[in-house]
């Protein structure tokens, strides 16, 4: 019987803990990018998805559907290997990963926020317009805050699923936690110890994120009911 405990603690951990710590930070860096850029761009895309002009709405809806209905791995492969052939500009794994995760984030967030916007009663917009508020003010102070607060649970879920999705960046050789762990595992020849520790790290960081998101959620809910 393989003894997990005796192999987990010594050996690779003393040697590679720094590499693992950096790998976790790299995963979180790409998560922050996907969520930060994705959410911001998602707000804009959501408004564009609801635009009365078909010339604006059409391409945005097509992009969102295209990204949401193909696997992220295929998108990453396409961006990393196929896109440079099209543009003639070479790419690094990090750059491809950044483009891929930000694009995917924008489309998934856009779809959620769009649902939120449609959930805000139309009367709110009419009332704001009747009060003479500018369009910018109506969107930024009335509609979007309500749309975001109403969809906080779905947004939090998406953040968590993007944390998991950062592991897929390993397929184009981004040195995040998954990639680093499989490398250490190959070097030490101890897959059970290394990959189990990796799994525990994902669970730990995932649990921390869940806790944080929960706090943000309750904080926003409190503020909005006051």
């Amino acid at each position: 019987m393989y003894s997990i405990v005796s192999d987990l603690l010594p050996g690779f951990l003393t040697q590679y803990w720094l590499a693992l710590a950096f790998a976790v930070l790299t995963s979180l860096k790409f998560l922050a990018l996907g969520v930060g850029v994705g959410f911001t761009a998602g707000l804009g895309l959501a408004i564009a998805q609801l635009s009365p002009s078909p010339w604006l709405r059409g391409p945005v809806v097509a992009l969102v559907e295209l990204i949401r209905n193909t696997p992220l791995l295929v998108q990453l492969f396409w961006i990393h290997f196929a896109l440079p052939a099209l543009t003639g500009i070479g790419s690094s794994p990090e750059r491809s990963a950044a483009i891929g995760i930000a694009l995917s984030g924008a489309c998934y967030f856009s779809e959620i926020i769009r649902g939120g916007i449609q959930g805000v009663p139309k009367g709110q917009r009419d009332a704001a317009a009747a009060l003479g508020l500018s369009r910018w003010c109506i969107w930024s102070r009335i509609v979007l805050p309500q749309a975001v607060i109403d969809t906080l649970p779905a947004l939090a879920n998406t953040v968590l699923s993007f944390f998991k999705a950062t592991s897929i960046l390993s397929v184009i050789a981004v040195p995040e936690l998954m990639m680093t762990s499989t490398r250490i595992s190959a070097r030490t020849g101890d897959p059970i110890g290394v990959l189990t520790l990796m799994t525990l790290l994902y669970i730990f960081v995932g649990a921390l994120l869940t806790l944080m998101l929960h706090r943000v959620e309750t904080a926003f809910k409190l503020r909005s009911t006051r």
């Binding site: 393989y2 559907e65 295209l66 949401r68 209905n69 193909t70 696997p71 992220l72 791995l73 295929v74 998108q75 492969f77 396409w78 290997f81 196929a82 052939a85 099209l86 968590l160 944390f163 998991k164 999705a165 950062t166 592991s167 897929i168 390993s170 397929v171 998954m178 762990s181 499989t182 595992s185 897959p191 059970i192 990959l195 189990t196 990796m198 799994t199 994902y202 669970i203 995932g206 649990a207 869940t210």
Partner: protein
């Protein structure tokens, strides 16, 4: 560089094999996930604290661990732990089943909890037995209510099946990568693969949305 589709003439056997492998992996994994998820739901609704906790822990764990992590763990660790030689397909499918089961169980449980309590009592009052109550009254309602979510779960399994490329299972994405490596033409095969996935997934997600909208109308 333009999109050259002549590559299809030479590589179609490889791509066709990839499509079939992707569909087979997805179908087996999803069916397994439904069966496992069903069993898991029975555990979680059994009312026995120990079983319930174990079931809930399983679901919580598999929802937070990245899919690729489960796949790698299964590929590298299972053969050692079990002392068996397992192919990348077996390990990958087992991982996809284990992940899908957690999500399917969440869906089944939500569907069961959404049933009005009176249904069970009414069936009892009509003199239906356990099995009849389940088959004629509860199961059809749960299935109808959870259909959109189950379709989405199937879509996720299909998307996750591409991750088996990372352990060298020759499904569609892996085949495209191989063709790209051999011909130095990545644009055509990857575009082709993206289109194939879109053509399979998009109708399914439209169907899911349609079922969802129909349910919303009914409940109003």
């Amino acid at each position: 560089m333009r999109l050259d589709l002549t590559f299809l003439a030479e590589t179609w056997p490889q791509l066709a094999q990839g499509v079939l492998a992707t569909l087979a992996i997805t179908a087996i994994s999803f069916l397994g996930a439904l069966v496992l998820g069903y069993g898991l739901t029975i555990l979680r609704l059994s009312g026995r604290t120990g079983l319930q906790r174990a079931g809930n822990l399983y679901v919580a764990l598999f929802r937070v661990i990245p899919e690729l992590g489960v796949i790698f763990w299964s590929y590298y660790c299972l053969p050692i732990l079990l002392g068996l030689a397992l192919s990348e397909y077996t390990c990958g499918i087992l991982a996809l089943m284990a992940i899908g089961a957690a999500y399917a169980s969440e869906i089944f449980r939500a569907g069961y909890n959404a049933l009005p309590r009176g249904q069970m009592d009414a069936a009892r009052a009509l003199g239906l037995g356990n099995w009849q109550t389940w088959r004629l009254v509860l199961a059809p309602q749960i299935l109808r209510r959870t259909m959109p979510a189950l379709i989405n779960c199937g879509i996720d399994t299909l998307k996750n099946s591409t991750l088996l490329a990372a352990i060298g299972a020759s499904e569609l994405a892996y085949q495209a990568y191989q063709i790209g490596n051999a011909t130095y033409n990545y644009l055509a095969p990857f575009t082709f693969v993206a289109i194939v996935f879109f053509l399979i997934i998009f109708p399914l997600s439209l169907l899911s949305r349609h079922r969802e909208a129909a349910l919303q109308r009914q409940s109003r």
